[in-house]
Symmetry: C2
Subunit: 249 residues, 2 copies
């Protein structure tokens, strides 16, 4: 949802078809095989709904399923990792980059590999933070308990003198202020993978206007989900700043 | 797994067929419709594997899917809620019973209804604790952060002077010591829904020996799962006190 929100903000008239697999969330604690199976299914759904360009708006899915999806589907596929990698590489001065994400994302080591492909001299320090997604979904985005858990998760990264920290999970923008405060306002620059992929898409659409299908008069973006709960509806409202009509499929 | 472990401990030669839907876990944050759909599927799987008696070993599934499963499947179906309710009702002296569980379980109000069916004069105080499952799955069963979060969740129940607290989620036995300590050792009696359903099954099998299919020489209990991750393997080992061969299906 943070990716859909970033895209909507930057390209307001773009026609967005969203699918959130809320019935089977979270992906970050699943095995690669299961994440791939679900990602293929989700992509098929979006294509059947008329999608011409796909964004894998989940770092866990992007980290293990991007290659399979590109092999299986013949349309442009963006994902949240590469744009964040590019931004991190051009942002760091110290050469020490931190990455936080779910267990699936961190275990895949995709950020390490992609950063070192571009700039082998950089050092990457990663930390899996499995509790941050449930904390966000509980709505504790400013709770004392969340601050304590962040302190514990971020301590090893603080020690490594990183100057750039990739928020490698699309839930983490909701904790941006707490993370920024914990890492030091002027010491560490946060890279938001949701914003970076939206920027990349914007550039791509300028160069490939044939994919730029716009909302017509009265049209709205469609937000499909595999499950609806009060917590999801309230998180959606928090992210978009307005009520969102989630369509259960 | 805590239910399978309790059954195994109390009825060691019983043939157990376990199915853990780890790919789609946790159920506690899903809608009733989705939980019912998955529970029907899981029950079909167990019956196809030869199960003659079903235990719904998850409070979230039991709270919303028990009736549908009993209507759809013609075999004895046990669940973790009724035995815990019976025990709580006979345990309380003050008449104030607390219940903790996932969001799905607490929202269903099943414990309130079932307790009041048996003893309308009792008072039931419930509290959803959505972060406890992820804390257990992160392995933080003795962490300072877990203690703080428990303090927050349990504070309203402490105020109500309960003398009995139902652990209405099969993950919570792993936090039993912390919860007992927080609620006061001699003030509050904890009811473990995993243990209670195993006791109920034991009585039932004594009365209905035709369902008591025992392990034969060399036979082992079978533990099927829909996903395997390192975290799941390590939790299984913690619960059973030995490595468990999880069969991915």
């Amino acid at each position: 949802m943070t990716v859909a929100r970033a895209v909507e903000t930057m390209i307001p008239d773009l026609r967005i078809i969203y699918y959130g697999d809320l019935a089977r969330t979270p992906y970050g604690s699943k095995s690669p095989e299961t994440i791939i199976e679900y990602s293929v299914h989700n992509t098929e759904f979006l294509i059947n709904q008329g999608a011409q360009v796909i964004i894998i708006a989940c770092n866990s899915a992007a980290s293990v399923a991007s290659e399979v999806l590109r092999q299986n589907f013949n349309l442009p596929i963006f994902e949240v990792i590469s744009p964040a990698v590019d931004r991190a590489v051009t942002t760091t001065h110290s050469g020490n980059i931190g990455v936080i994400g779910t267990r699936a994302t961190i275990r895949s080591e995709i950020y390490d590999r992609k950063i070192k492909q571009v700039a082998p001299e950089l050092k990457v320090f990663s930390k899996a933070c499995p509790l941050l997604v449930p904390l966000v979904e509980e709505g504790w985005t400013d709770a004392r308990e969340t601050k304590m858990i962040l302190r514990k998760y971020l301590a090893p990264l603080k020690q490594k003198q990183i100057d750039t920290l990739v928020l490698g999970c699309t839930h983490y923008p909701l904790l941006k202020d707490l993370i920024q405060h914990r890492m030091g306002k002027n010491r560490v620059r946060l890279i938001d993978s949701s914003v970076e992929v939206a920027l990349t898409l914007q550039t791509y659409l300028q160069e490939n206007p044939q994919f730029y299908e716009t909302l017509q008069n009265g049209d709205v973006n469609r937000y499909f989900v595999s499950d609806t709960t009060k917590a999801a509806i309230s998180t959606a409202e928090k992210i978009f700043g307005r009520p969102i009509d989630l369509i259960k499929v």
